[in-house]
């Protein structure tokens, strides 16, 4: 049976530290200003500000990257199939060489900001590639996003953001395997997906 790879993120353990976002940035040698994974403050209108009225306030964090949906809106609309869902493990991934830069996938994806376009030649602060050498070269005028660290999956490793999570809030595995850690977590803990009403059925679950 094919796998359904995805992640479980424990919002009770997430401290909004941006470590997963930074790990992704370095691992994938992201061009300047591009972020595939971000830490969002669920609270007020600024980073680390709460909602509510003093002193009854609250704040939480959600980390957001591609949801690797089971029913992805993006895969349907790419006119050249440059973005596609892998059959063997469910990873939604791009082929930069096929992409014609029409950005339809960016319009189709409901998850605000997870898809990133290189509006110019990718620039980097340092003049050499950081991160893993197996990462596809970034191309001007193509769309990119979280690949679930496909290059690491190919080496039998888990995504960088999962490995590095300082709060140990991120879990990775195969939802088609009922004995996997991620499947077990969904059984034991209440959880939610983002934007369930969009019927995309993400492979990223948040424990609440």
């Amino acid at each position: 049976m094919s796998k359904r790879l995805g992640m479980v993120i424990d919002t009770k353990r997430c401290m909004g530290c941006h470590t997963c976002a930074m790990a992704c940035k370095v691992e994938n040698n992201l061009p300047d200003k591009n972020w595939w994974n971000r830490t969002l403050t669920v609270g007020g209108d600024g980073m680390d500000t709460p909602n509510g009225v003093y002193p009854n306030v609250s704040m939480a964090y959600v980390t957001l990257a591609c949801q690797h949906c089971e029913n992805p809106a993006c895969v349907k609309v790419c006119p050249v199939g440059a973005t596609y869902k892998r059959e063997e493990d469910g990873v939604v991934i791009q082929d930069y060489d096929k992409c014609i830069g029409c950005r339809y996938c960016m319009a189709a994806c409901p998850y605000t900001g997870v898809r990133v376009f290189n509006w110019e030649v990718p620039k980097h602060q340092v003049d050499f590639a950081v991160g893993d050498s197996g990462v596809p070269t970034h191309q001007k005028h193509t769309v990119e996003k979280c690949t679930l660290c496909a290059h690491r999956l190919a080496q039998g490793m888990e995504p960088a953001c999962v490995d590095v999570c300082t709060g140990r809030a991120r879990f990775f595995g195969d939802f088609n395997d009922p004995n996997s850690e991620v499947s077990q977590l969904l059984l034991k803990r209440s959880h939610f997906q983002l934007l369930p009403e969009k019927e995309t059925n993400p492979s990223i679950y948040f424990l609440s």
Partner: protein, 398 residues
């Protein structure tokens, strides 16, 4: 003696017209070249020179694409409907309408290509076609539409010379008509099927696009016809003009009605994303465009449907212009609206570079974008003038 006089007189009649279109061709040609130059700059420096960014990833170009698809579909529908349904048509202007429609189709396609990151990979659309994509459907349908339009015009011209059958022409009309409807429905579906963008996701979008296409297409045709009548290319035809004006007036009212349906449905719950959208249009960020569109539309409808004002070419031209502008603003609102309301709105760092504008709608087209738009429109004007000169687009009788 008299031959000399005749010979001398003849050049004087045609010379102004010729030099007029030469100037037009020169100007539009230059502007087109300028546009191409800007496009080359955009390709080399990157789409970064536009104001589009990750959260507003489509902008003026896609707006223009929608707009010109609408203009082209409208023109062709006007031309073919009478033949299809055996109604009294606008015979005198139908060839011009078809040719205008062809020009608009070319421009629409041009805008898509200009918006692409990798236009040199256009062949991927053939090699790797993904048929679940509304964009792919539109590529197919627009290509078919362009071919059908050209074939239809050619068939019409040949029929006037006595070649080809009336029956074949009627079949072609039907095909062209259906394709025109399809073009605009499919273009609408590019947006309307997207569950991720509340502003777009309505079943009404295809009918609304068709309605807007009829408005803008007919309005543009009417403006072109009035201008051509003014400069003497076409004979004055007040009766035809009145009928077109009246028809346009009806189209405008229908379009306003569909808009009203949308607003009422989204606004009635007095809460939710749909309601936010309505408020933003009535009194928020989109208000200036919205009220220009609605106000202009109402004024246009009045001018077009009132018997007295209908008779004035100037007022009809004004009303048509208001209608066209209104449709442009409708398209612009639609596009920007899709990106304005974020599904996940928690505070986040940006995912890419900042836009040039700090505009209320997070997008304000740059000079490069406007420059390219001017260039493309100039290309259309260039093609139009060329076609009016070289093709037998005048009514058969004259």
């Amino acid at each position: 003696m008299s031959t000399e006089a005749t010979v001398k007189a003849a050049p004087a009649k045609t010379a102004p017209a010729k030099s007029g279109s030469t100037i037009l061709l020169a100007v539009t040609g230059l502007l087109t070249l300028g546009g191409i130059g800007l496009w080359a700059y955009q390709l080399s420096r990157g789409l970064y020179v536009t104001d589009m960014r990750n959260l507003t990833s489509w902008g003026l170009y896609i707006t223009m694409f929608m707009f010109f698809v609408g203009l082209s579909a409208g023109g062709l529908i006007i031309a073919t409907v009478p033949r299809v349904f055996g109604l009294k048509g606008f015979k005198n202007v139908s060839k011009i309408a078809v040719y205008l429609s062809i020009c608009c189709t070319v421009l629409a396609a041009a805008f898509i290509v200009i918006d692409l990151g990798h236009p040199e990979r256009l062949w991927h659309l053939i090699a790797y076609a993904n048929f679940t994509s509304p964009l792919m459907w539109d590529v197919i349908v627009i290509t078919a539409y362009l071919i059908v339009s050209i074939v239809y015009l050619r068939a019409t011209l040949r029929a006037e010379k006595g070649q080809g059958s009336e029956k074949a022409l009627k079949t072609l009309s039907t095909v062209a008509f259906v394709t025109a409807i399809l073009v605009h429905s499919v273009t609408a579906w590019i947006f309307g099927l997207q569950i991720g963008r509340a502003f777009w996701n309505t079943a009404l979008l295809a009918p609304m696009f068709i309605s807007s296409a009829l408005v803008s297409g007919l309005a543009l045709t009417l403006i072109v016809v009035l201008i051509l009548q003014k400069v003497g290319y076409l004979k004055a035809d007040p009766e035809s003009n009145s009928r077109m004006a009246w028809l346009l007036g009806i189209f405008v009212l229908v379009d306003l009605f569909l808009l009203f349906c949308e607003l009422l449905t989204a606004g009635f719950p007095l809460g939710g994303t749909g309601f936010e959208v309505v408020i933003s249009m009535l009194s928020g960020a989109f208000a200036p465009m919205f009220w220009t569109e609605v106000g202009g539309g109402i004024i246009a409808a009045v001018l077009l449907l009132n018997k007295k004002t209908q008779a004035s070419a100037g007022l009809v031209a004004l009303a048509s212009a208001l209608a066209v502008i209104g449709i442009f603003f409708k398209r612009f609102q639609l596009l920007l609206g899709g990106f304005e309301f974020k599904n996940i709105d928690y505070y986040s760092i940006p995912t890419g570079p900042a836009a040039w504008s700090n505009g209320v709608l997070n997008y304000s087209p740059t000079l490069v974008e406007w420059g390219i738009v001017v260039g493309v429109i100039s290309l259309g004007a260039f093609m139009l003038v060329l076609g009016l000169n070289k093709l037998a687009l005048k009514p058969a009788e004259s």
